[in-house]
Assembly symmetry: C2
Homo-oligomer: 342 residues x 2
C-alpha cells in the first residue's frame, strides 16, 4: 500500500481529534522523515458538509493557521460525502475520526468498510463501528489483506490494544479495567468528599470531564463498547456490545461508599472480561489495589498466566492523546507494510 517513501492519506472528520492529529503530523514531520524514512501526503479531508481534496497534497501548515480556511480553500467541494469519494482517491491509509454514533456506528462504519473494500488500510479513533460490527470489519480487512488499527478507541494513547504484541508469548486470562474518566471522577469525588452522585456529576460537567449529556458514560454503555474492543483484541473473542451485561453508577450512594470504606474498599465502575463473559458494573475494589486510581485516569489490568497481573494506565481522553494514538498507528502500519513489501 505504501508506495515508496510517500504515504498518501485521507482524514475523515476534522474535529478536535482530527485537527490534533494534523498538528502532531506537522510537528513531527521532519522527525518521521529522519527516523522512519517516509513522508505523509494528505490528499483529502472530509467533513460532514463537503471535502478538501488535492491530489498534490494539502498544505497542512496553512490550514492549521486558520481553521476556517478549510471551507474557503480553493480545493473545497461542498456537499460531497466521503463514502462516495473514497474509491476515487489514490490513497494508502484512510483515517476515520468522525464522532462516534453509539447506535449505528454511522457514518464511520460505512467509511471504514468502503476504504477496506478499496484495499485501503484504515486507522480509526471512532469506536462504535468496532463494538457494533467488529467481525464484519475484521473479515473484510482479512479478505482484502488490509491493516486496521484503532488504538485511539480504547484509553486513547495508552497502548491498551497494541500491548498484545508485547505479551505475545504469554496468555491473558482476564481483563479488568476502568475505561471512563467521567464515572471514575464522580466515584472518586463521592468517596473523598461524601457528596451525592448528582453533585459530583455537576462538578464533573463544570470541569469539562463529563459530556453535556453524560448518559452513555454513567450508564456504562461507553465503557461496555471499549470492553468489547479490548476483549476481542486481547483475548481473541468475537463479541459485540449486545453481549455485555451493563450496570451504571447512578444508584451508588454516599452511604454505600461509606460502608465499603469501613472494610477497606472503594467502589469502582469496572469493566470485566472473564470466562467468556463481559460485564460493566460498580464493584468493590480493595483500597490498596492498583485499580483504585483517582480522578479521570483509565487503567487496564491484564491477568496473565505466566507473569501475574500487568497493569497499564494513563489519560483516556483528549484531542492530542487520540491524535498521538493515530500517529502511532500510522507509523506502525507503514513499518509493517515496508516489511511486507521490501
Amino acid at each position: 500500500m505504501c508506495k515508496g517513501m510517500e504515504v498518501k492519506i485521507c482524514l475523515i472528520g476534522m474535529g478536535n481529534v482530527g485537527s490534533s492529529f494534523l498538528k502532531l503530523l506537522k510537528e513531527k514531520r521532519e522527525n518521521i522523515i529522519d527516523k522512519f524514512n517516509f513522508n505523509t501526503k494528505l490528499v483529502a479531508i472530509f467533513e460532514h458538509d463537503g471535502a478538501l481534496i488535492n491530489s498534490n497534497g494539502i498544505d497542512i501548515d496553512n490550514l492549521l493557521m486558520d481553521h476556517s480556511n478549510l471551507r474557503k480553500n480553493k480545493y473545497w467541494i461542498s456537499n460531497v460525502k466521503a463514502q462516495d469519494l473514497i474509491s476515487t482517491l489514490e490513497i494508502d491509509i484512510c483515517i476515520e475520526a468522525t464522532p462516534t454514533n453509539p447506535e449505528t456506528g454511522e457514518p464511520g462504519l460505512t467509511h471504514i468498510l468502503e476504504a477496506l473494500s478499496n484495499n485501503i488500510d484504515v486507522i480509526s479513533s471512532n469506536k462504535a463501528p468496532f463494538y457494533l460490527q467488529y467481525n464484519k470489519i475484521k473479515n473484510l480487512a482479512d479478505k482484502n489483506g488490509c491493516l486496521v488499527k484503532f488504538e485511539a478507541t480504547v484509553a486513547s494513547c495508552v497502548p491498551a490494544l497494541s500491548i498484545r504484541h508485547n505479551l505475545i508469548g504469554n496468555t491473558i486470562s482476564r481483563i479488568r479495567a476502568i475505561l471512563t474518566g467521567t464515572s471514575n471522577y464522580i466515584l472518586s469525588r463521592m468517596t473523598a468528599e461524601g457528596v451525592s452522585f448528582s453533585v459530583a456529576l455537576k462538578e464533573a460537567q463544570e470541569l469539562g470531564y463529563a459530556e453535556t449529556d453524560p448518559t452513555l458514560d454513567i450508564n456504562g454503555y461507553d465503557t461496555a463498547g471499549k470492553l468489547v474492543i479490548l476483549s476481542n483484541e486481547l483475548l481473541g473473542w468475537s463479541k459485540s456490545i449486545e453481549d455485555v451485561s451493563i450496570k451504571g453508577i447512578t444508584e451508588i450512594t454516599p452511604h454505600a461508599l461509606e460502608l465499603a470504606k469501613l472494610d477497606g474498599y472503594v467502589i469502582k465502575h469496572l469493566a470485566i472480561a472473564e470466562n467468556d463473559n463481559l460485564l460493566v458494573e460498580p464493584r468493590l475494589v480493595k483500597r490498596e489495589s492498583p485499580l483504585n486510581v483517582q480522578g479521570t485516569l483509565n487503567i487496564i489490568e491484564l491477568q496473565t498466566k505466566y507473569a501475574g497481573s500487568i497493569v497499564i494506565m494513563g489519560k483516556g481522553a483528549g484531542g492530542f492523546e487520540a491524535g498521538a494514538a493515530i500517529l502511532n498507528d500510522l507509523i506502525s502500519i507503514v513499518k509493517e507494510r515496508e516489511n511486507l513489501y521490501n
Copy 2:
C-alpha cells in the same frame, strides 16, 4: 536466520530462569506451531561445567521430568564452555540466561558477543552486559544485522522495553520508575508498620523477597543498571552504569517516613531519567501518586509529550515471569525475521 519453520536455539544457563523458559516452551509448543507457524529445536544447553548438545534436538519433555537428567544424558559433554562452542553450532537464536555478574558482565557478555559475531540473534535475561557494555553489544548487532532482545532484564515480563514500539509516534521525555521489589517492600513495610530498616530487611529476606546478600538492591546498584537499559532503549541514550548518580535506602529512618506522611507523602526508591541525567535515590512521592505502589511490584512511568504520563506495572521478578519475557522475545524475533525474509 530462521530457516523455514524450524527455529534452532541454544540456551546458556539452566537455572530458575532457563528451566522456567523451557517449561513454558514445552507448554506452549502446540500453540506456537498453530498460531505462529514455527517449531523450536533446542540444539544445546550450556551450564558452567559442560553442555548438552544434540543437533537433532534435545528432548525437553524428558529433561524436565528430572532435572538431574542433564548431566546423565548421553549427549552431555563435561568441561566445555559456551564461548568456545557457539561458533560451531548451527543455530538461529542464542538465549543467555546465566546469573548476572555486576562487575564484569561475564561470562554473559562474552557469550552475547560471540553469538553476534557468528550472526546469531540474541535474547538475554542477564542484565549486566547491557548496563556495562550497551554500545558495544548494539554496535556489533547492527554491524552483523542481528537482533538482540532483552525484555527480561528490566521488570521481567512487564513490557518496559518493547513499549517503545507502542509509543512510536509519541515522544518520551522522562522516566520515573521503581525497579527493585526488595527496596520497595522494605520501604512499604517501614511506612505501614513504623519498623526500622533492619527489621523490614530481615522480614523481606525471610519471605524470600530479598537476596541473602541484598547489597545491590538496597544500595541502588541493581536499579541503576535497569535504569541505564530503560533510558538507552526508550530515550535513545547511550549510557552505562557509571553515568548514574546512585543513593541507597539504608539511611531512611521510620522518623523520616513519619515526617513525609504528615504532609501526605511517602518515600520511594526512585530511578529517574531526565534531562540527560540518570539518578537512583529515595524521593518523596505524593501518597495519591501512581508511583506509590505497595510491596514488591515494579512500576515505570513514562512522561510523554502528547499524552501525559503512561504507567505500566507488574511483577518485576520470578522464574516464570522472566521465562515468559524470553518467550515473548523469541516469538517477536521469529516474526521480524519472517517479515524480513519472506
